[in-house]
Amino acid sequence: MKKILPVEELARDSRFVRVQIQEAMMDPRQMKVAERNTGSAKLEPERPAAPDRARQLMHGIFMGELQALEGAGRTTFDFDDEDVPFQLKLDMARQSWDESRHCEISVKLAEHMGTEIGEFSEATFLYEAACAEDALLRLTGVNRALEGLAIDVFNTMKLFGDHSGDPVLAACEDWMLADEVTHVKMGSDWLRRLTENDPERREKALEFQRTVDKLFSLGGFRGETDENPIQLARKFREMAGFSNDEIDELSEVTVEAQAEAEAAANAEQRAS
């Protein structure tokens, strides 16, 4: 069986349509909406279009879980015992099992909200970040950066479930959130162990994490202000092995990502 499966070869049926994330971010309508005063961007039942915002996010979570399953599965398979410790592969196998359960839960939650699988397009950048040839980069890029994003997303959805009084959504997100904390902690622990005597390699891996973190802050999608739909979940990140300095640094990265997106939008507008 082939190692390092390219994104084009992921198995999908005709329900799924792929989209490039750049296409979505450069949609001229996004810039028009940014000019409007639509108040807080936080996901709350009182926000305009809250049901469809939540449904679309839930579908995005499902797609993320599917790709996380594929990514963790590949990491279990792509590396031989001489490349990485067997215990690391066991952790990835355990994570695959968690992600497959999350896929099933997400499908049920989507059904609960009246969403069909494939109703929204799929961006595959999560899986693409999980294709690094160095296992250490997968630990930082996927387990610490992407699974860290999952912590932020699940916490946001759990709070949305709490606020809207939806017991099904709140309970399911809480369970999945607990798993994500474990996945991030696996990444934090293995990063420390594998680079115990190699600070240069650790720094390189952390640099990759910062790149992925910035990319996945999606120009203000995630942050700590009312302008960010997804809120940085400090408490859960601490539980997952992030230091306060690391969380502060991530917060700065999200601010930078937002500023860069706004600058790009302004430049685009001036050019048009």
Binding site: V17, V19, E23, A24, D27, P28, R29, Q30, K32, V33, E35, R36, N37, T38, G39, P45, E46, R47, P48, A49, A50, P51, D52, R53, R55, Q56, E111, H112, M113, G114, T115, G118, E119, F120, S121, S164, G165, D166, P167, V168
Partner: protein, 205 residues
Amino acid sequence: MARVEVTPEQFTLVQYDAGVIAGIAEELATKVGLPDDVPIHIDIDEELPLPLTGSTADVTDGRAELWFSGANFEDGRHRAVFNEQLARTDLAMELLRARDRLEGFADAPVDEELTDAQRAAWEASGEGRAARLGEVTRKVRRQYVFRLYNGFTDVADDAFERLWAGDRFTWAELEALCAECKAADPRPEPKQKSAIRKESLRAPS
């Protein structure tokens, strides 16, 4: 002069055709029983992408005034592309609500002043009737919206079924149903109202 007028006449940000939308609305207006002498104006805000959906239906000076976010007609899988099935459902639902305003809902406030709960209840009734007219509808999605604003309770689920299955409601009956749901809803009062989607999402003038 055509019975249905669509604004804008030309879309620049999305691949929608005003003529196609007017044609669908014309057909649906007859299907839902909106009187022939009621002109229809449909205003579509093409700047709003998914998931920023929203719509209103009012009758002003004898004219049905419908407003839609462009997101309501957008195919979730293909950016800025028109989805006829979604458009038909939402047009049918809002045309039914416009017809309601001519018979039995005369006391109802304009759409901008409805609460989230009232809007969700009225739309549940509208989509249920659209389903019986043969339009493709999504009951679970509508029920989720209804629960979000009227409570995740057995009382709300029962009210939703009545709204979905009923063919004739008055504004007073709809208000009473919402009051029933509210009495059974353990959640605190919403901090603010989101139902003024048009106002909240409208472009700066």
